[in-house]
């Protein structure tokens, strides 16, 4: 049996890997949010009963989105290698991992956003329509603003999903905590590295959940009458 890696070295590994993971998750969550929200808005606007119902377009878009979500992330990683090389210039490292992570999360965010937007009551939307508001204004001031707390929660869910995916990307040369856990922890049978990585991942997931919950509550103006 090999000697366990000293704690100080484990700590150094963890700091570097955590930095890489946070970088991957933060940037890909941001990109997926920025690109996924328009997809979700588009899905909702073209839905039957939406502001701009286009059933055929809606079905087509929905099909593409669901296909993207059904794609195993590992397959997507491999599929997107050439795109990554085109965009980033290389296919290895945390920055390169951001491309498949973002692309994979866009349809995910799109569906979540559409679900959230569809919860805005139709009478609220129609009331805005009768004021003579443009569709752009209704999307901005009514659909997105009314569902802002739920949108923030949806992005939190996405960030945690991306935390998981980033571990997978890590194995394929992305670095980060997943890479650390598999290469040093699993393949070199170092339980100390393996379990401390799991602990750090659990802490990160908890912190993400907590932060997004807090943010969602902070922007929510719905209160019960007794408050």
């Amino acid at each position: 049996m090999r000697k366990a890696t000293p704690w100080s070295t484990v700590f150094d590994y963890l700091v570097t890997a955590t930095g890489e993971t946070l970088y991957m998750v933060a940037v890909s969550t941001l990109i997926a949010t920025l690109l996924g929200i328009p997809v979700g808005v588009w899905l909702q606007l073209t839905a039957p009963g939406g502001l701009r119902p286009r059933p055929l377009l809606h079905k087509l878009l929905g099909f593409v989105v669901d296909l993207g979500r059904a794609m195993p992330f590992l397959v997507l990683l491999v599929l997107l290698t050439s795109l990554t090389r085109l965009v980033i210039g290389q296919s290895i490292g945390p920055t390169a991992a951001i491309v498949p992570l973002s692309v994979g999360a866009i349809p995910f965010v799109g569906r979540l956003v559409q679900n959230v937007l569809s919860e805005v009551h139709v009478s609220v939307v129609e009331a805005a329509v009768t004021t003579g508001a443009t569709t752009t204004r209704i999307v901005r001031s009514v659909l997105l603003r009314e569902s802002l707390p739920a949108l923030i929660n949806a992005i939190g869910v996405t960030a945690i999903a991306l935390l998981g995916y980033s571990a997978m990307a890590g194995v394929l040369g992305g670095g980060g905590l997943g890479d650390l856990a598999v290469r040093l922890g699993y393949q070199r049978f170092d339980d100390r590295v393996l379990w401390s990585t799991v602990a750090v991942l659990a802490v990160i997931a908890t912190l993400i959940q907590f932060a997004f919950n807090r943010a969602a509550r902070a922007v929510d103006r719905r209160r019960h009458a007794s408050v």
């Binding site: 009551h121 009478s123 609220v124 129609e126 009331a127 805005a128 329509v129 009768t130 004021t131 003579g132 508001a133 443009t134 204004r137 001031s141 009514v142 603003r145 009314e146 802002l148 922007v219 929510d220 103006r221 719905r222 209160r223 019960h224 009458a225 408050v227």
Partner: protein, 336 residues
Amino acid sequence: MITVENLTKTFPGSTGQVRALDGVNLDVAAGTVLGVVGPSGAGKSTLARCVALLERPDSGAIRVDGTDLVSLGGSALRAARRQIGVVPQGDSLLRQRTAAGNVALPLESAGVPGPQRRTRVAELLDLVGLTDKAGSYPDQLSGGQRQRVAVARALAASPSVLLADEPTSALDPETTGSVLTVLDRARAELGVTVLVVTHDMGVVRRICDDVAVLEGGRVVEHGKVLDLVSDAASRTAASLLPAVDQNPAVERSYDRVADVVLVGFAAVGALLPEATSRFGVELNLLGGGLTRLGETPVARFRVGLNGERADSALEWITEAGGAVRRTPTGPQGVAA
């Protein structure tokens, strides 16, 4: 001010096409309140949605100040929507905005700059009596208060027509009163023309000048409330006037029995006593009662008359403005 001409709307249903509106005509004069009533499924909701320009009718016109709004699209449609303020059915406020923020929404749509917007919002919250609730969120308001905010929002962009779709359906009788008061005030203080779609005849009783009865997608009765109540055969009279019970045993002891509808202070107060003294007849009230339509007292009494000049007395009441209908159960012509 607003006219609806020959409006038709058909929906695909499970058993073929359903004709929700079948040639509806309405005419609301400037500064008056029209109540559109009718049973469930009569087409009220469809009519309201068409007038709110949320639903495009198959054919027909909706004219505000002579301009047909039905065929408009794009920015012309958005501008037209500002002419018709809508209080939609059900909860329609933005829950993430304060009362003031909700009232400001139509002004934002119309591109009114901030300072003017704030002044206008304050005026409207004052009109609906919610100045102290400007900073409250919908979840902190009662149902009646939320509905009054919705009325203020509908009025914000100074529309010439206010459409209220079942504005009181979710409210208890007390808060219903406060919402109706606000609608009536909008007409009185802003001169706005009001169209209320409702299943509640109490709304017609309280605030409507005119009424249109919708049934099976058609207007089966349309006119001034005070005119229609004088017509005993009208649905409006049947649902707004006090009921008269039949009492054949009592009625047999009179030469003449008739139902008399009296409209206005003068008529209700003086007509029957004066008929008694003028024609020397005995006139007794057998049933019915007094009510109020808006500010106007209105009565429907069943009266029994004894005396030689009973017929003359009834004729005189008719000439003086009472609506007289002799009841078929009365012993007509016995004493002639």
